[in-house]
């Protein structure tokens, strides 16, 4: 039997040792270390300035509570990471094979290990206690000032303000879609559900997300400290056009909010007779009013027209277009109603002007006609939806989303003229 004591590298595997040495000429490890340093620097400096959905820029009390809870956790996690890597990399450098003898065969030190087991447990207790506190805090609904209902469906949000004393008083229901208008500083409770699959309501700068589940009502608190437009997005995968299901919350000062409410409840104003918009009204009645409600719209017999989306689309709902041009996005907040020129005037308005500019709505000059036309020409081409008649067996022929209506260019002109007056 051999009593060979030579270092093992040479003894057991000449081949490995050889290839290791020749390899030093081009060391990908060195490249990697340089790369990781560069990347770390990039990470620190590398955040977008104004990502609209940034979870680290809270703009309201609820998001702030989450933020206050999470940054220390990130800090602690970061420190633990640095400590672990420090020890590990020191050990890797310190104990590299420099020809030292075989180390002591230490199987462990139970006391040290018990200590090192308790340490993370203690750290986690310090994390767990405030977590539970914040959780209970965020579930509290006693201080609600305003109730707003949201209903998700493929692939847009319906938003309605039920009659209540809250929200500064709502005397008639207001129904809109895609954009929720709230008053700065008030505690809004969003009551949400869904008409088809599970969606998730998420306005990152105002609060965490909440799934809106069909057959259930879930709540989500919202409060904004300052006027502004806060972007959000459906975050529970909801099928084909999940990526195109967005929403915004517009927070405005008290007076602007009152003005907005008043405008939403204004009576229907029929277009000038003989105008393009009047032609648009009849086109709307023949082509759109089956699904899309315009409050106060009457047919030639003077009867109110009630849309029946429940007969025509699977979710049973279509956006209410009564005040379309008071909103500045459409089709699940996927596309802008404002042109590139006008958009920044509202979206990047100084805080004190947000409400006012928003309430101006979309004028003919500012309309983003390109996207709206493309949408009216062929909605499923603009935004993927299940509307192909050959694939609708499971839904009894009902499309999920807005189908292709084969509108003529003239009809589109008329409709745009008509819709521009819906504000």
């Amino acid at each position: 039997m051999s009593l060979d004591r030579t270092p093992r590298n040479e003894r057991t595997s000449m081949q490995v040792a050889k290839s290791t040495t020749t390899f030093d000429a081009v060391n990908p490890g060195r490249l990697a270390r340089l790369g990781s340093v560069a990347m770390l620097a990039a990470l620190v400096a590398g955040c977008a300035n104004d990502a609209p959905q940034d979870t680290w820029q809270p703009a309201g009390e609820n998001a702030q509570k989450i933020h206050d809870l999470q940054w220390p956790v990130f800090l602690v996690a970061g420190l633990v990471g640095v400590a672990v890597f420090g020890v590990l990399f020191y050990a890797l450098w310190r104990y590299r094979d420099t020809g030292q003898p075989i180390p002591k065969q230490i199987h462990g030190r139970p006391k040290l290990e018990i200590g090192l087991t308790i340490l993370p447990a203690v750290i986690l207790i310090f994390v767990a206690v405030p977590t539970v506190g914040t959780l209970i805090d965020l579930a509290d609904t006693d201080d609600t000032d305003c109730i707003i209902n949201v209903t998700g469906q493929q692939w847009w949000w319906e938003i309605d303000y039920p009659v209540q004393d809250g929200c500064g008083g709502i005397s008639e229901p207001i129904i809109t879609s895609g954009q929720m208008v709230i008053e700065v500083g008030t505690n809004v409770i969003v009551r949400g559900t869904s008409r088809d699959v599970i969606h998730s309501w998420w306005i990152p700068r105002l609060n965490g997300k909440r799934d809106m589940v069909p057959g259930r009502v879930h709540t989500n608190r919202l409060q904004a400290e300052a006027p502004g437009i806060y972007a959000g997005q459906c975050t529970e995968f909801c099928g084909l056009s999940h990526a195109n299901m967005r929403m915004e919350v517009i927070a405005m000062e008290h007076d602007d909010f009152e003005a907005w409410k008043a405008n939403q409840l204004e009576a229907y104003a029929a277009p000038e007779p003989e105008s393009l918009a009047a032609e648009g009204e009849s086109t709307f009645i023949s082509q759109c009013a089956r699904c899309h409600q315009v409050n106060g719209l009457e047919n030639s017999d003077g009867e109110l027209i009630i849309a029946r989306p429940d007969l025509n689309v699977w979710s049973g709902a279509a956006p209410n277009l009564t005040k379309l041009m008071t909103r500045n996005t459409f089709a699940g907040a996927s596309f802008d109603l404002l042109s590139d020129v006008c958009r920044p005037l509202v979206w990047e308005a100084p805080s004190d002007l947000v409400g006012e500019r928003y309430n101006e709505g979309v004028s003919a000059d500012c309309l983003n006609e390109v996207d709206l036309r493309e949408w009216l020409r062929n909605p499923p081409a603009k935004k993927p939806m299940y509307t192909d008649p050959t694939k609708l067996e499971a839904t009894n022929g009902l499309p999920r989303g807005m189908p292709f209506l084969a509108l003529s260019e003239d009809q589109i002109d008329q409709l745009i003229a008509y819709l521009l007056e819906r504000k």
């Binding site: 490995v16 990908p28 979870t55 989450i66 590299r96 075989i102 609060n207």
Partner: protein, 668 residues
């Protein structure tokens, strides 16, 4: 290299019971020792392990291709590479493939190959069931992927939340293929789990107590326990989904009064243990690799064992942390949030023990060692980001964003996959008798590490800055201002995929360079790494019967203790090399056992496995096919039950040579 050798002399004692064993002899036993039949009908756990590995590697490439397409689509705003429909199929199948058809079976490959070797057994407890597991998995995986050519793959995400998965919202057959495909692969996992648990419990070599088992076997054992109990839960969910889609039930139809959260609970009761099913085998692998290349025993072996078991156990109590945003109510959320934090403790114990294993060692930075260290680093990042969303309110900002995508890729890729690669490099000489090139190996490692950090690192930023996942496009309007906006990071992530892809390709190049015809790579030494655990006490590659002599185990790290002698006094251990690994192995060969009994190959596992996809196609297309598949299955089961344990002389072609008498040969 025969599994079964020709029985020369057939006296009265053939089968333990007085069975007339010549009947059911319509088929000759597949006793070939070379050619495709020696693989298709084998019951040798080592061949089965290799086939598991090859099939899993194939699906890894498929899943990687899917990932590449996803990142190509997202490299720029409003990507046009894939349609919304194709994109949804792509991310669904990417996750499904990577979880069920790559990581799980690759871990099964290691478990199959090494558990019997590490416990000193000749094979698993039920060799034919082992073959059944393999073929069921392969047929299930192929079945699942045929959906691409039959009207489109599943498009509901791997979590397949109801009611989006019902026929109304997903009208193609994709989800049917998914549900049935996972049922099939679930059978493979369940059968494999039972088999390996029995092997570990009852087939250990003399002296190998549970606390002397190699750590990989321990972790793989915990994984099999998790599989055993988790698979039936998803089976329930998948059956409900199948009845909903194919037979008109309404388990997830809200209009019928159903609660869609039922699916989420069932899915995640399975799904969370599944996470540990994915990473624990790799934890086991690097717990073997680190001590060998540190030349020290694993630090705190009992702590690593119990923390692994604790992770497995606590893993059953945290499933609802995938549902913090789904409206469980604050009390449930609080309970699950705290339970989730608790699981960080045993995970931390593992990281601490690995670090302390390295501490004070004599480190040899082979490729296997680099991958093991890579796992510690990358998994730690994933673990720490995990703690940030155990904090439930914080999680409501992070769930379903790219932050979560980053987190679980650091856990699954950084944890599971890097560990599997460590295993490839460490055990390659054991399995194939040749060493992979260390030069190419290091390129492989560094490109993979750089690639994965470039791909998944930026996703932390993307997610925290509000980019949700599972979206086939993102828009410039929500990307923020400045050079380092979300567009920049999306592009970096996509470019990182290329580096990662090249890194993985290096592995294939390495295999090709080592094994191509005319390769000059020399055979590996028997014990190239001066290894510690029992499996290295067999030849490389091992003989069909694994060990010439059933090993008797005295210590944890038995092989090390056979090579090195403790010459220290009392607690002062001082080890001196007494014999090289090759000498220890030669010693075993000299004392080979006389009675070595190996099971015979069989047709029935592969036939029985083939019946399952037939039945599954039947569920989708035509009930007659179900009947046909069931008939095949019943036939195979009876063939199986009636098959004698050993091959008959008549099974061999050409006929056996003139038999010598037992006594004469016993003296050979």
């Amino acid at each position: 290299m025969a599994i079964i050798e020709r029985p020369a002399d057939v006296p009265a004692v053939v089968v333990p019971t007085p069975t007339a064993s010549t009947n059911f002899g319509y088929f000759r036993r597949p006793v070939e020792t070379t050619g495709w039949k020696s693989w298709a009908f084998t019951v040798d756990h080592k061949k089965i392990g290799i086939m598991y590995g090859v099939a899993a590697m194939f699906f890894f490439l498929v899943g990687g291709l899917e990932a590449g397409l996803i990142r190509w689509q997202l490299a720029q705003a409003d990507g046009t590479i894939l349609s919304a429909d194709k994109y949804n199929q792509m991310f669904t199948m990417h996750a499904t493939t990577m979880v069920f058809l790559f990581v799980m079976p690759m871990a099964a490959a290691f478990a199959n190959y090494f558990i019997p070797l590490q416990v000193g057994a000749r094979d698993v407890a039920f060799p034919r069931l082992n073959a059944l597991s393999l073929w069921v998995f392969i047929f299930g995986g192929v079945f699942l992927n045929t959906s691409w050519f039959l009207g489109g793959a599943a498009d509901g995400g791997w979590f397949m939340y109801a009611p989006n998965s019902s026929g109304i919202f997903s009208p193609s057959n994709g989800v049917d293929f998914w549900a049935l495909g996972l049922q099939i692969t679930g059978i493979a996992s369940l059968v494999g789990a039972i088999n390996l648990i029995v092997t570990v419990l009852n087939m250990r070599a003399p002296g190998m107590s549970m606390m002397r088992m190699p750590i990989f076997t321990w972790m793989a054992f915990v994984v099999q326990m998790l599989l055993l109990f988790a698979i039936p839960v998803i089976t329930v969910a998948l059956f409900l989904l199948m009845f909903q889609r194919s037979y008109g039930a309404t388990f997830f139809s809200v209009e019928a009064g159903a609660d869609p959260l039922l699916w989420q609970h069932l899915f995640w009761i399975f799904g969370h243990p599944e996470v540990y099913i994915l990473v624990l085998p790799s934890f086991g692998i690097i717990s073997e690799v680190l001590p060998v290349f540190s030349r020290k025993p694993l630090f705190g072996y009992p702590f690593v064992v119990f923390s692994g078991a604790a992770i497995g156990f606590v893993g059953w109590g945290v499933w609802a942390h995938h549902m913090f945003a789904s409206g469980l109510g604050p009390v449930s959320v609080a309970v699950f949030s705290v339970a989730t934090m608790a699981i960080a403790v045993p995970t931390g114990v593992k990281i601490i023990n690995w670090t302390l294993t390295v501490w004070g060692g004599k480190l040899w930075f082979t490729t296997a060692m680099l991958f093991a260290i890579g796992l510690i680093v990358q998994f730690t990042i994933g673990g720490l980001s995990g703690v940030t969303h155990a904090v439930a309110p914080s999680d409501t900002q992070q769930t379903d964003t790219y932050y979560i995508v980053a987190h679980f890729h650091y856990v699954i890729f950084g944890g599971a996959v890097l560990g599997l690669f460590a295993g490839f490099y460490y055990w390659w000489p054991k399995v194939f008798g040749k060493l992979l090139s260390e030069t190419l190996g290091k390129w492989n490692f560094w490109l993979m590490i750089i690639g994965m950090n470039l791909t998944f690192g930026p996703m932390h930023i993307l997610g925290l800055q509000g980019q949700p996942r599972r979206m086939y496009i993102w828009t410039d309007y929500r990307a923020g201002e400045g050079f380092f906006n979300l567009g920049f990071w999306n592009l970096i992530a996509s470019l990182g995929t290329i580096v990662l892809g090249v890194g993985i390709f290096m592995f294939l190049v390495n295999v090709w360079v080592t094994h191509r015809p005319g390769s000059t790579t020399l055979a590996a030494p028997e014990d190239p790494w001066d290894a510690r655990s029992l499996e290295w006490m067999s030849t490389s590659p091992p003989k069909p019967h694994n060990y010439d002599r059933t090993p008797i185990v005295h210590d944890l790290d038995e092989f090390f203790h056979r090579k090195y002698e403790d010459v220290g006094e009392g607690d002062d251990h001082d080890y001196v090399l007494r014999a090289s690994g090759a000498e220890v192995i030669a010693e075993e060969e000299r004392n080979a056992d006389a009675h070595i009994h190996l099971p015979a190959p069989s047709y029935w596992p592969i036939v029985l496995a083939a019946a399952l996809p037939i039945m599954a196609y039947g569920v989708i297309y035509n009930t007659l096919l179900i009947v046909a598949g069931a008939a095949v299955a019943v036939m195979a089961m009876f063939g199986w039950a009636l098959e004698p344990a050993d091959a008959e002389p008549s099974d061999f072609d050409p006929p056996p040579p003139e038999p010598a008498t037992g006594t004469e040969l016993a003296n050979v």
